[in-house]
């Protein structure tokens, strides 16, 4: 993302510009770069370096079963992510088209479709067990009706959970893309005799190809890097992330294994990132931001849109309904509903609100930090030319690489630094968690701020310079105010993504700082599903309330 450079006398390389005179924004940019290096690049680099060391030292020969398992794990992970991506795009593209162009009550569907994003992804897993497990509600209904049922544990279970969780992500990205399609483009196509579906297929979709590629990448990586769902509902289906995580936490397992697996996950993710971005650049059409888009006004189209959106929303939200019911139920064994209803899970919750408190503190600290980073890095990206473009890749890394791997890298780094006698305070305790979160979820506020920066009116800044203001003053007085709305949105997104994070948390866990996602996860694992459900409902309610509050403030 390289915006046009501000109209200033060019004074040599970017380094020269920083060295004299000291520009506060540039200094901040450098600090951000150092932060990224310490908490992202070095940990990942350590893992890759260590794994190279292991391979060169003949380590692979020492781990005989590893090779076979390795191929199986890679194949499984790729197949799972690929399957999920295909399904999500197949449902998501028509859904996005209807959502943007032909559905009544759009705000309602917007809210409904965002609910899965407000909860940790693995919540879907234990909800799907309630629905589709061997004694699940839907399974029992199907069996009673004489219809075929399927075994949930394994690929089906993980895929269902991932599809439910990533569909909103894809739809939101695709919808953003659809909103850039100029009205006249579709109108002229239709006036030339094309039907709505023809035009959608041959004109609109190719136009938003970069967004389709981006959605595919986001969904693929989300599925590829997830650890919660495969752990809970994966059965015998082994994937890379779970192997890396379980090997890492057991000290009696050869520790070379998680390092090799983590490095491999990084390599695959980077290759994918490179390939997809190349594809995106090839298909990019200069976005002519027209503002107004073409909508399908015909009642038939709107009816179809309503049916389709309602059906998909219902299916996506069914697991959450199951969680709500479970939170008020006692034992939910072999029946369509729990044995009895009770408030005791919520009552028990009132006595153990510490994880919620921890999560609010951690997310409340990490989210502003992440937004601050994105503001600084966003500015650096448009001012620093080629070096700035590097930022683009680096800030996508945390999204590309699994949370578990980032966590493992950070732990190795802090271990190494301790060995060197550098037990720095910010490398342990909640500070480490805050740093880890700010990095892990950086891509989300980053995307919001990039979009915001691209819409900044350069002329105002140029006017400021021509009136004699320094760069810092211009930034503070002219640029920043234009960014405030975006910063507020970025804050909300960063907060919700951080508070629902699990992968990195499980690895970088600091004693005394159990987060609410960990609490839900441990209860779900122990079989105390009802308690896990009650906490999940609480988490979703809190996040929804905060998000709603923020949007309300923005709309005012």
């Amino acid at each position: 993302m390289t915006g046009t450079r501000a109209a200033e006398p060019a004074s040599g390389s970017w380094l020269a510009r920083i060295v004299r005179p000291p520009d506060p924004m540039a200094v901040l940019g450098l600090l951000a770069a150092v932060y990224l290096a310490v908490f992202l690049l070095i940990p990942l680099g350590l893992i890759v370096a260590q794994s190279v060391q292991i391979v060169l030292a003949g380590g692979l020969a020492d781990l005989p079963q590893f090779g076979q398992r390795f191929v199986l794990l890679t194949r499984n992970s790729l197949v799972l992510a690929g399957l999920v991506t295909v399904i999500v795009l197949a449902i998501g593209i028509p859904l996005a088209v209807f959502f943007v162009k032909a559905v009544p009550y759009r705000p309602l569907f917007q809210v409904l479709l965002t609910i899965p994003l407000l909860s940790p992804p693995f919540i879907g897993s234990f909800a799907t067990i309630l629905l589709f497990g061997r004694v699940g509600v839907i399974t029992q209904l199907l069996r009673a009706a004489g219809l075929p049922t399927f075994e949930l544990y394994g690929l089906p279970g993980i895929a269902i959970t991932h599809v439910i969780h990533t569909l909103p992500l894809a739809v939101l990205t695709l919808a953003a893309g659809l909103r850039t399609v100029p009205r006249d483009l579709e109108e002229s196509a239709i006036s030339l005799g094309g039907s709505l579906t023809q035009v959608a297929r041959r004109v609109v979709l190719p136009y938003i190809a970069p967004y389709i590629w981006m959605s595919a990448l986001l969904v693929f990586l989300a599925s590829f890097g997830d650890v919660g769902a495969p752990l809970l509902v994966g059965g015998n289906y082994r994937v890379l992330t779970v192997e890396a995580y379980t090997a890492f936490i057991r000290f009696n397992v050869d520790q070379r294994i998680p390092i090799l697996l983590s490095a491999w996950i990084v390599v695959i993710s980077l290759c994918l990132l490179y390939l997809v971005r190349r594809q995106m650049k090839k298909t990019e059409i200069a976005p002519a931001f027209s503002g107004e888009i073409y909508t399908y006004a015909s009642p038939a189209a709107r009816r179809v849109g309503l049916c389709f959106c309602s059906l998909v929303s219902f299916l996506v939200l069914l697991p959450y309904l199951a969680i709500l019911v479970a939170s008020f139920g006692t034992v939910w064994g072999a029946g369509l509903l729990p044995d009895a209803f009770t408030l005791r899970h919520y009552q028990a919750l009132a006595g153990s609100l510490e994880p919620l408190r921890n999560s609010l503190i951690l997310a409340g600290t990490a989210a502003p930090l992440a937004v601050l980073l994105s503001v600084v890095i966003g500015n650096a990206m448009r001012e620093w030319g080629r070096a700035g473009a590097l930022f683009d890749y680096v800030t996508l890394l945390p999204f590309v690489v699994s949370g578990v791997v980032i966590g493992i890298g950070l732990i190795h780094l802090t271990g190494r630094l301790r060995l060197l006698g550098l037990a720095l305070p910010f490398l342990s305790g909640p500070s480490l968690l805050v740093a880890a979160y700010s990095i892990r979820r950086l891509p989300y506020p980053m995307r919001v701020m990039s979009a915001a920066y691209s819409r900044i009116d350069r002329r105002l800044e140029e006017a400021s310079y021509s009136l004699g203001a320094s760069r810092a003053r211009t930034f503070w007085r002219v640029t920043l105010p234009q960014l405030y709305p975006a910063m507020a949105a970025a804050l909300v997104i960063a907060f919700t993504r951080i508070i629902t994070e699990l992968g990195t948390t499980l690895v970088v866990y600091q004693p005394g700082w159990t987060t609410i996602s960990m609490q839900i996860f441990s209860y779900a694992q122990e079989g105390l599903v009802n308690r896990a459900a009650a906490i999940s409902v609480l988490l979703i309610a809190v996040v929804a309330a905060l998000t709603g509050l923020a949007s309300y403030n923005r709309l005012r």
């Binding site: 067990i129 397992v253 034992v331 405030y484 866990y509 079989g527």
Partner: protein, 358 residues
């Protein structure tokens, strides 16, 4: 107006950060008269009840119970902190794990005559001899649970399957796809099950049995918790694990029960020990004595651990976990032989790598 709001948010963020740092800062005042740090792998509610009880008995003390994520994580943490120990007590881990910690020099030597003057060197129960402390006093057993078969009564009834009474019943092809197990490659309790079976059935017998059980396994789960959650819900009706967890689920109202197999239930003894170089040695010793005392033992029983002292009954529920009851009802207890465990480790790993990669 938005600017002011953002400034307020920014200030809040700064304050919250400072609070977080202050709250989470490493213990500086440790070693003072009243602060005890305990690394425990026990479930949260059990740990909390111990903490409250001990603080009540020793006014002015604060107990911080920390769970870094299981006994293995505790050992890793103790090793990492070896030159500047942050913890005073290592509470709740299998004896096997305490042996490892002792070998690594992480546990302090104590005098059993002082810490546990009224406990025998070993507990003789149901044909087994469970050592209650290490001769150098590096660890003390405060409770045990038995490795059993757990099942969901309702689900087995629905499926028309009989309740298995012996380990060898599990080879019955009727149970195909109805058993879930975790992986000895990753879980020490799973590994101990295998060692116990080896002791019960011998080298040939154990693999004959397990080749058959393997065919009945629905799937091998990387999550130990799934052993209990799946049975509690009735998703998979049978699993093997420690009795304690099945009792917890039963108390929640699930139709779960356990079988103490005729050929033997292996014993999972949980220990406590003082960390080498503990900053508050005196308080640590008091804590260990408390855990072993009758009051501490009642706490253990309340959380479904079998006490090691005779005559202890739980006050929080009606399940009888006393030594006397176990002696009368459990057919046989097997103590896992750690030397044997090391001998057969590689073979077990190899075979299970084969089982789990289908």
């Amino acid at each position: 107006m938005i600017r002011n709001r953002l400034t307020v948010l920014a200030c809040m963020a700064v304050i919250v950060t400072l609070l977080a740092f202050a709250h989470g800062a490493p213990a500086l005042a440790q070693g003072g008269s009243g602060r005890l740090v305990v690394y425990s792998a026990a479930p949260l509610d059990f740990a909390e009840s111990l903490k409250r009880a001990f603080e009540a008995l020793h006014p002015g003390t604060t107990v911080e119970i920390v769970n870094p994520g299981g006994a293995e994580a505790i050992i890793a943490k103790l090793a990492a902190e070896r030159h500047n120990p942050q913890a005073d007590v290592f509470h709740s881990g299998a004896v096997f794990e305490f042996l490892v910690a002792a070998k690594m020099g992480l546990l302090a030597r104590t005098d059993p005559a002082v810490i546990a003057p009224d406990l025998p060197q070993a507990l003789e129960i149901a044909g087994a001899r469970i050592p209650l402390y290490d001769e150098e006093g590096r660890w003390y057993v405060w409770g045990f649970s038995l490795g059993v078969i757990g099942y969901n009564e309702r689900r087995l009834e629905q499926l028309g399957l009989p309740v298995p009474r012996r380990w060898q019943d599990l080879a019955d092809p009727r149970y195909r796809g109805q058993i879930v197990f975790n992986m000895p490659q990753q879980s020490s309790s799973a590994f101990n099950t295998l060692v116990a079976h080896y002791q019960m059935f011998g080298e040939e017998g154990v693999w004959e049995l397990w080749d058959a059980i393997d065919r009945n396994i629905a799937f091998y789960t990387p999550s130990t918790g799934a052993l209990y959650s799946l049975v509690a819900r009735g998703e998979v009706p049978i699993s093997f694990g420690t009795a304690r967890n099945y009792y917890v689920n039963r108390a929640e109202g699930h139709a779960v029960n356990v079988v103490y197999p005729e050929e033997g239930a292996w014993v999972f003894a949980t220990a406590v020990g003082i960390v080498e170089g503990a900053k508050n040695r005196e308080l640590a010793e008091a804590f260990v004595r408390f855990v072993l005392s009758p009051e501490g033992q009642v706490h253990a029983a309340n959380h479904f651990q079998n006490p090691i002292r005779k005559g202890i009954q739980a006050t929080a529920h009606s399940v009888d976990l006393s030594v006397e009851y176990v002696e009368n009802t459990v057919p046989k207890i097997v103590v896992v032989d750690s030397a044997l465990a090391e001998e057969i480790r590689e073979e077990v790993m190899r075979r299970f790598d084969r089982y789990t990669s289908r």
